[in-house]
Symmetry: C2
Subunit: 178 residues, 2 copies
Amino acid sequence: MIEKEKLLKRTPVYEGKLLHIYKDDVEIGGRKTWREVVLHPGACAIIPVTDDGAVLFVRQYRYAVEEALLEIPAGKIDPGEAPDVCAARELTEETGFRAGSLRKLGAVYTTPGFCNETIHLYLADGLIPAHQHLDADEYLDVVKVPLADVRRMIEAGELHDAKTLAAFAIAGPHLFQD
Amino acid sequence: MIEKEKLLKRTPVYEGKLLHIYKDDVEIGGRKTWREVVLHPGACAIIPVTDDGAVLFVRQYRYAVEEALLEIPAGKIDPGEAPDVCAARELTEETGFRAGSLRKLGAVYTTPGFCNETIHLYLADGLIPAHQHLDADEYLDVVKVPLADVRRMIEAGELHDAKTLAAFAIAGPHLFQD
């Protein structure tokens, strides 16, 4: 039987630039315990598909995992920003292309065990050249990979970013049709 | 150009039960800045496939996202534990079945932007009844879903757990063959 856990008292334990951590006293089935949670503003991630059948990835160094990762373009939602607007903005900022068509695939929780981050997933095509505009502390390369190679890399376990794989789990059956 | 960021100084800012948060002074391309990181012990997640062509999911309430989620069985790696051992243990603890065969699919980073969590992904079949053994603070239901329905739910955006979708992105093309 699944019961909702009731928040009794929330205590901030760390207020950082990006991370906001709380210790919550909660009640579940009459029993009291506590949970640590990271609050996150949410994000969007986009599979950009070119007219000649390739995906535009970004490759960037990820400090937390000490590795450069191949990921689909993504970024955090600004305060008050709608997910669709964020997705269109991040696509252009990171890849330098606007979407002719932007279709929502779904939304995923990256780490529901301790964080409320939701990533809204999109498929973009009909790409139109625009201007890349990276944040001051953002360093990334745009990497174009043909769909057949993307499919092979996924099945070989060569892509390691969970949101990227989640987006292809939803879109793949259509994208990878022969 | 992608450069590695060099750690200059690590300062613990929160030491919790589950979460360990650090503020790191780093250098990138001669410039100094700082990063907040969550350190995590890593985890394993398993797609358990039954002999009659269904997947055993677990449904559990996730406090951080205030929702009951359908996920593949998963759990944190104990100190010193090998990922394969963790995967076999978590499968049995959560579903009550042992794996006749356990095959590694790959490994993913759930939130490389701020956390080092790695989830090792597995496919289990040849399931043998054993004894479910939940942690004291663990409440979950085992939910059996036929493969055809799993496929439909994924494509309809009805599964919201990123690790679950990531595992199916890798295993799906073989699992969902007609």
